[in-house]
Symmetry: C2
Subunit: 440 residues, 2 copies
């Protein structure tokens, strides 16, 4: 019987295990997860802290027992894979509860251990990161038990922004600091202005070019020389791949510890796959490397690998467009394509439009700002970014599909929107981008 071992039980690993079982009712699937839970919805965690998602059960699809019962997947939690021998097709697993070690062999190994949060070199019981349900429970308990009134958020990526909003929603007074001025880095920096405006409107304190120097009890000493008391600190200062266990395994990694894979997510060992946040891949639409540690890619990879192992079909992955969206209070900030930092590799032009998300005379119309970058020589779209209260996600999804099809910016004039006054305009903002680009 085919034996498949899966490392990691969240978006990539658990989804892969479910997909594989759907395609192959026979094979033996064993999943090792070093932490407490499998199959939780990690994108929902900040909203549980904000009481926006009220039931914790909404976040957890399966316990290990349910995973066995519903999908015949043997999920072993608190089991950390500490070594892989690809030439012998074995993994060494540490049972963290019993402090024992054992070896298992596999026909196929699918690795999706994810990334972990970077940590500041600070020693304090009130500092947390938010990567999984255990973290969430720990934060929730700490808030309840310590009557948390004042929170410090360190870092300004999308998880920090979501935590900020959710802490605000539950009445915690929140301060955000960031070590530079460049927040929410997938977005054009000037389009992040709505984030600062919103924080100003809500009287949320934020400080740029600021860092934590030390923590003494509740007192936080900042690089700027300020000192202030907080009840909790949430760190969101970047991630690194959980690939240390592959040291000496002979599986190729890049300098940052990410694992390059081919179009079927195979590593340099053909029966060893890497999916989810640890995989290093390329953009779909341009010839540049990228990491996209987001849920869509983990799910897509899970399907492709399950199909590939079972030889149900052989559909290669064509690369990432890096579509992403974050909600911040009433705003949506979304983008797709190369990052602002990667634009330097191109000779490009930018065209933008600001108009209402639907017919201006229809109630509820809100301003929408859409920006599209295209390569001068080919006129192919390489990046798009949108900010607005409604309709931003829709336009980025449309432009994601445009980039999937290698469209030129001019062809956006031909996009036929399903128009009625509540939805768009007879010349949608997507069309306007095309018309404006034609004049460049």
């Amino acid at each position: 019987m085919t034996k498949v071992i899966v490392i990691g039980g969240v978006a990539g690993g658990a989804t892969f295990a479910s997909q594989l079982r759907r395609l192959d009712s026979e094979c033996e699937i064993t999943l090792f997860e070093k932490d407490r839970d499998v199959t939780f919805a990690n994108c929902g965690l900040p909203y549980y802290l904000g009481n926006i998602i009220e039931k914790r059960s909404e976040l957890l699809h399966f316990t290990p027992e349910q995973f066995k019962e519903k999908k015949d997947v043997t999920a072993k939690v608190f089991h950390e894979v500490i070594h892989v021998e690809p030439n012998h097709q074995t993994v060494t697993v540490k049972d963290l509860k019993n402090n024992t070690t054992f070896t298992e062999d596999y026909d196929y190994l699918v690795m999706s251990p994810g990334c972990r949060a970077n940590r500041l070199p600070l020693d304090s019981d009130m500092i947390f990161t938010l990567r999984n349900l255990e973290d969430t429970d720990a934060i929730e308990s700490y808030i309840e038990e310590n009557n948390v009134q004042k929170a410090l958020i360190v870092g300004a990526g999308y998880i920090s922004l979501e935590v900020l909003e959710n802490f605000y929603n539950r009445g915690i007074q929140t301060t955000l600091i960031h070590r530079s001025e460049a927040i929410n880095k997938l977005m054009d920096q000037d389009m992040n202005q709505v984030i600062f405006d919103t924080m100003d409107e809500q009287n949320i304190d934020y400080r740029l070019n600021e860092e934590v120097e030390s923590v003494d009890g509740k007192t936080v000493h900042f690089k700027s020389g300020k000192a202030e008391d907080f009840d909790i600190i949430i760190e969101g200062i970047g991630i690194k791949p959980n690939t240390e266990f592959l040291e000496d395994a002979g599986i190729e990694e890049d300098d940052a510890g990410y694992i390059p894979v081919n179009e079927f997510f195979q590593t340099n060992y053909r029966n060893v796959y890497a999916i989810g946040d640890i995989a290093s891949y390329r953009y779909r639409h341009v010839d540049l490397p990228t990491h996209v540690p987001l849920a869509w890619g983990a799910h897509r990879a899970a399907s492709i690998v399950a199909e590939h192992i079972t030889q149900t079909r052989n559909i290669p992955f064509k690369g990432f467009l890096a579509a992403n969206a974050v909600k911040f209070f009433d705003y949506t900030l979304a983008s797709v394509g190369v990052t602002p930092a990667d634009l330097k590799h191109f000779d490009y032009t930018m065209v933008e439009s600001k108009q209402m998300n639907h017919a201006g005379y229809f109630p509820g119309a809100e301003p929408l700002h859409l920006r599209v970058y295209f390569e001068k020589s080919t006129r192919k779209i390489i990046r798009a970014a949108a900010v607005g209260k409604a309709g931003a996600d829709k336009r980025i999804d449309i432009l994601s599909l445009a980039m999937q099809n290698d469209m030129t910016v001019d062809e956006l004039t031909e996009f036929e929107t399903a128009y009625a006054p509540p939805y768009s305009s007879p010349k949608d903002i997507i069309n306007m981008i095309g018309y404006k680009a034609q004049e460049k």
Copy 2:
């Protein structure tokens, strides 16, 4: 100096005149409109009657005086073009106020007279249709002056549905009748169930397979034998093109009075163009004729013709995808591609998905029903339809762009959505359609 005559002052004609002026500051543009107004937003008219759009001024972009002042377009209202002599390049115009007739010559003629409402052969002062701002004003005055409490809507196309909702919103008790069971014909009939369910919930009376036999004062006698009093009747029983003035002009028409045009909207006379609702065209994605009397096409044609006449650029029109959307109370019903009636020309398969419009655990998730039709041999998408409370318009817009790019249904697995819990799922409903189709 180049003389351009435009027939019709709404979406097609007025937009064309504005676009032409933008590209050519010199030419002489004269627009003849047989009715009272130009440049009004006809898609907003039902919402003005429902007091959803409160200011009438929101609906009217320009008076003729403003059109002259802002765009240097001479717009003559109550001026009906009654004859065209393409060989002499002249139009005969009737001044309806002064009952005089005159002839004007042109270098280019752009015809966008639109369609008019079909009428029942009934003689009553309380029967109205809703095609323009004059109709809207007449209905509004009649409602106010006659203390209208009870309305009968005849017909169940999208304008009838919009009028029904808006009358309901202003507290008018409304009954809808339709001569068959097939309502809102661009939508799959079973997907229209939400319309009936909503009317049931709101206690709105509707009767299928019913027609008006006669009207006697306020009493309406129905084909079924019933009789009932109403204060107003709104007819929405189809449209026909306003092309009678072309009789003997030598400009080709099809049997229904629509005007076939080429990819630049030229008629059989190369300096005579037909745009908007009167043009007969072909689908973009399949080889079948269609009429699409909707705003997007009128605006797109206006741009293409303005570019063509000025030779700014020569971008041919590649055909309609017929994307459309209608709001009915909390629901959106949207579709794109061939009509349900046109499906008979294809050997097709249908795949559908019902799932939440975004992550189910995030508040506000609503069921969404998406259906995609594809041709068996090519697997190209030929039609899609969506119904839901939110997100239906977004998915149809995405599928419109998919059809613009001749995508196969299988390629929908690769659509990279900008995912966060408020917007979609890691496997968006678009992806699910692709995955399900792969198994067919």
